[in-house]
Amino acid sequence: MLTSPTGAPIVTKAMLVLFAILFTYPLWAKYVGLYDYLGIEIAIFALYALGFNLLLGYTGLPSFGHGAYFGVGAYGYSMAMVELGTSPLVGLLLAILAGAVSAGLVALFLSHRRGIYFALMTIAFGQIFWFLSIKLRWLTGGEDGYLNVLRPVVELGSLKIDFGSNVTVYYFAAVLLALMVMLLWRVVHSPFGTALQAIRMNEVRARSAGYNVWLVKWTVFTLSGAVAGLAGGLLALTQESAYPNVMSLHASGFVVMMTLLGGGFVSFWGPVVGAALFILARDILGAATEAWLLWYGLLFIVVMLFEPEGAVGAWRRLAGLFVRPARREASPKVVP
């Protein structure tokens, strides 16, 4: 089987399961009370959280201002579509570029930091972007948002892709998510991925082992920002607009919550599971009560108290109950 340099397969069983769920979703969603638009949101936030977990779960760098790069991507896409009149694909490429450039600039100030200083600095930079998006009214539309980013109809030869339909946008987002899953899986199982985990375990020792820690941190932050930019661009495509609120401290906290809720510290799949749970719970609670954030906060406190390794951690523990101890010892502990 085709493997990466660290011996991990390029395509795994878990991936095939995900792809099966992902690409059949519009066929069965309506029978279980879900709908296409919800699927788009889950795909977008899964993408966002996967990129975020490169930092949090793999490198151990807590970024609390990641909404900035998501937002920059959303504005980048919107401006490309409206001001330059590009196609959605070019718009998304520009969104990725915008996310990468802004994250790359910020990372220049961050890459020699860790722990609480790193967290507080990311908050500060996140707030700067949020603040600018509100104040630069002529550029971003201020608090009203950047509006009228219409979903286009794209003609590729005889093929006509109508982005006006939610099903089309869903499949588009699903394909991007599937590609990104494969790409990021490959990244974390490359020598670069090993360097990330070395930095998480012990930064000083990683440096002694010859890694250029500063450069690795800068690169992973920029890469994570690029993925966030792509997710932001997709959201702008879906919503036909971009707003400052995705950059707020709360919104940046939500992606951390998604990642941990799923179990980003213990599994590659944590962020995907977490994003799905987060969006589903928001819909269910939101339908039942106006104050869904209150219940959300309580739910989150309970998770942090009793199952901080999230859904994947809980699953592994449950599965562990049914496995004979001998086999449990034999199977190596999976590092995310």
Binding site: L56, P62, F109, H112, R113, R114, G115, I116, Y117, A119, L120, M121, I123, A124, F125, Q127, I128, F131, L132, K135, L249, H250, G253, V256, M257, L260, F265, A291, L293, L294, Y296, G297, L298, L299, F300, I301, M304, L305, F306, P308
Partner: protein, 309 residues
């Protein structure tokens, strides 16, 4: 009219703001030093303290019956002082509760504790919205400290001067508490080496609980003084926490004078920028942070700590 005298009211605004930011930051930094937890609910406790003070100052008298009428006859100044004492105590008790919840996360990844406080922040903010509604409310203050006066052709607000004096006094009290009482010595020892403190026979869990409550109470005091200037909204806490975070980083984590100095610096920068370009006053604070940290990576007075690992 000279340049200085035209700037003076803005300087006073800046000083008042800076001292109160420093007070929030001190509570925050105490909690970080002793428990190694970034308390993201700090701003919500700030807001909640102000809302509770509002209730204590002007309670729903009909609901309270005869006792309420008696209480309502008390002068506003008396009720204000009662609120200034009682509301921080209530917040301290809530702080105790939060610390008890946090105990399960000690010794695990730092993010768990941090995210627990983020959850708590969501709960407090939504609870405020549910109880007091999303609209802006007013925290009443006694007539003696409202109004203003004209000096040298410039208008000065009495309340800003009161806030400045109060902020300075409160910081002084915290300093005396930390440096001139045995409790302060224990807290500082706990921040330095908690294992050793435990070995000396001091009840470490109780120490942590008290420090968390004390830090929360400081946020509540700052909330009661600041919200008459800012207005009382459910998310006013965020406006207060962000400057407090910045001040901690700017001053250096765990440093008392670093927090006070950085608080004053941020207050003055915000105040003076506010005089010329009020829209950009908040941004100037971030730029200050980036400039300082580019040259002094641990803030102005920070030392290397275990928190960076």
């Amino acid at each position: 009219m000279g340049m200085v005298s035209s700037l003076l009211p803005h300087l006073i605004n800046g000083l008042a703001l800076g001292l109160l930011f420093a007070l929030i930051a001190l509570g925050f930094t105490l909690i970080v030093s002793v428990m190694e937890v970034i308390n993201l609910a700090h701003g919500s406790l700030f807001a909640l303290g102000a809302y509770i003070a509002m209730v204590i100052i002007s309670p729903d008298l009909v609901m309270l019956g005869a006792a309420g009428e008696l209480y309502g006859d008390l002068p506003l100044a008396v009720r204000y002082v009662i609120a200034l004492v009682l509301a921080p105590l209530v917040i301290a008790v809530i702080g105790f509760g939060l610390e008890i919840l946090l105990r399960r996360t000690y010794g695990k990844k730092k993010e768990y504790g941090l995210l627990l406080t983020f959850g708590a922040a969501l709960v407090f903010e939504e609870a405020i919205r549910l109880v007091w509604g999303p609209a802006e409310r007013v925290l009443p203050v006694p007539p003696g400290i409202t109004g203003g006066f004209i000096f040298n052709g410039m208008i000065y607000s009495n309340y800003r001067i009161y806030a400045m004096v109060f902020g300075a006094a409160a910081i002084g009290v915290v300093w005396l508490f930390l440096n001139r009482t045995p409790y302060g010595a224990i807290i500082k020892a706990g921040a330095h080496d908690d294992e050793m403190v435990r070995a000396l026979g001091i009840n470490l869990p109780r120490l942590r609980m008290l420090v968390f409550g004390f830090g929360a109470a400081l946020a509540a005091v700052a909330g009661i003084i600041l919200t008459p200037i800012w207005g009382l909204r459910p998310h006013v806490g965020v406006d207060a926490t962000i400057p407090a975070f910045l001040i901690i980083v700017l001053g250096g984590i765990g440093s008392f004078w670093g927090a006070v100095f950085a608080g004053l610096l941020v207050g003055l920068v915000v105040g003076i920028t506010g005089a010329y370009a009020s829209d950009w006053s908040i941004l100037s604070m971030y730029i200050l942070l980036i400039v300082v940290l580019t040259f002094r990576s641990r803030g102005l007075l920070g030392k290397k700590t275990a928190l960076e690992l």
